[in-house]
């Protein structure tokens, strides 16, 4: 991404360059937002609704959202279901394998906070935002497929504000304060350490 970053900065500095920059940004954000391919990280109950969302009745394909099981092909990771401490390193590794730019949707109460498995249990990670930067949260146990499709629309709004020049992103107003970005240090290196699942 280094070359693209420099290009963005150079355009931003050069006279008249910002017209090109904003045009490139508009095209890039439009194309990215309209083809958000998902990495279906379905682990539990929510995975059933994740499958339902892409089948004929709800038909995710019409929004340009296609589930791809290969992390290298995807833009957005949908974490659907309970993440246990045993599963977390695998999720981290898959997130690290996704190419930038990438986003995360936390689908269902388990992925948000542990949900019904918050209390009295010893094996469940209390929300996927403990180790991944989540962009959209969908409440529900499990959420309906329509809710997942709405999450993609919400994410599109966020994607529309991105820019190839750092510092030029449009600020998105959030209803609730965002949790702190859990990425401390290099996530990829961290995932490598977690190899011994």
């Amino acid at each position: 991404m280094a070359l693209v970053d420099d290009l963005g900065k150079a355009l931003d500095r050069s006279p008249g360059g910002s017209i090109i920059l904003t045009s490139v940004d508009a095209i890039l954000d439009w194309s990215r937002g309209k083809s958000l391919w998902t990495m279906p990280m379905g682990t539990a109950c929510c995975a059933m609704e994740l499958i339902a969302a892409s089948f004929s009745k709800f038909d995710f394909d019409r929004h340009g959202t296609i589930p791809r099981p290969d992390p290298r092909h995807t833009d957005v990771m949908v974490v659907a279901g309970t993440i246990t401490h045993k599963m977390a390193p695998a999720v981290k590794l898959l997130y690290a394998q996704m190419p930038e730019p990438k986003w995360v949707i936390a689908m269902g109460n388990c992925a948000i906070s542990g949900g019904i498995f918050y209390y009295d249990t010893y094996s469940v990670v209390r929300g996927v935002d403990e180790f991944l930067p989540v962009d959209v949260y969908i409440a529900g146990c499990p959420p309906r497929p329509e809710a997942l499709q709405d999450a993609i629309f919400q994410l599109r709004k966020k994607v529309a504000g991105e820019s190839i020049a750092s510092g030029r992103e449009r600020k998105v107003e959030y209803l609730l304060p965002r949790p702190e970005d859990p990425r401390k240090g290099d996530l990829a290196a961290e995932a490598e350490d977690g190899e011994d699942r």
């Binding site: 109950c45 059933m48 089948f55 004929s56 246990t84 209390y119």
Partner: protein, 364 residues
Amino acid sequence: MSEELVVNIGPAHPSTHGVCRVIVTLDGEVVRHSEVVIGHLHRGIEKMAENRTYLQIVPLTDRLDYVGSMYANWAYCRAVERLAGIRVPERAEYIRVIVCELQRIASHMMSVGPAGADTGATSVFMYTFNQREQVVDLFEQLCGARLTYNYVRPGGVSMDTPVGWADNVRAFCRTHPAAMAEVDRLLFGNVIARQRMKGIGVLSAPDAVAWGASGPVARGSGVSWDLRRDSAYSIYPRLDFDVPVGSNGDCYDRARVRLWECIESCHIIEQALDQMEPGPVMAEAVPRLLAPPPGEAYDHIESARGSLGVYLVSDGTPRPYRMKVRSPAFCNLALLPKLAEGHTLSDLIVILGSLDPVFGEVDR
């Protein structure tokens, strides 16, 4: 014998039907040894149950077998009713049978469809998922939830059927066998699917018994064992139905048995709807804070995956002392290393799919 290669499948692999990790030792493409690593979805439901009241545990059982939540609800409620000596009204028993047979269809659709997807025919999954969606719609009319129903409660069911629901169920049961005939032609009539499934992962009848297999996995091997008939619980003795049994014990027979069971389920539902009378759906005087007398109870039902049992120990307090779930998916999954040996890696995926594990229930 060439050099052995160790390949790791999972835990996040689209073909493992959940979060299962399989460590496979390959000789060329042939599986020499495979080891299933489970526990990636271990949420400690059995331990959590010790800190919940009897009524609060019902939503937890929803999340055990999330493809067939009604079964876990029912198995748990039967154990509680046995422990506390609650008599369930007749109409509630009929509703339970109807929803569980509908659930069997919904659950088998999630097994037959992926059997097609595993063998390279993704379109079959579309057809079966359409059927599943229709069942899910019926459940949504019944209790408002698409997946985690929390419908069967100790003492009966949470609410009576809405007006017109029975007609919708009848309409579904009329169309479903024809849809199954279509799937039968599409998947089991397809020469590629037949060659990918016939003779793959053969389980003999004595082995099925010795390994504790149950449900369609055992019946596909010719073991005619169905708790609905052989340990007749609830109102099943009043209903007339066949138990489909396979003969070869391969992936083909296991998948086909599931398909036939769906059609039998339609017959059961139609009979139950005919026999059902109006009446209460909840036993009288079931307290909110149920405190059964000290003792223990085990009860099992025939779930879509086999014999699902719940064992409860009470010490007289409103919380169970211990809950143990006898999971058929766990017992069936144990067969994978045995069945996959000598087959190719791509066949291992088909065998895993034919065992139909649900990892919420395997790991609990």
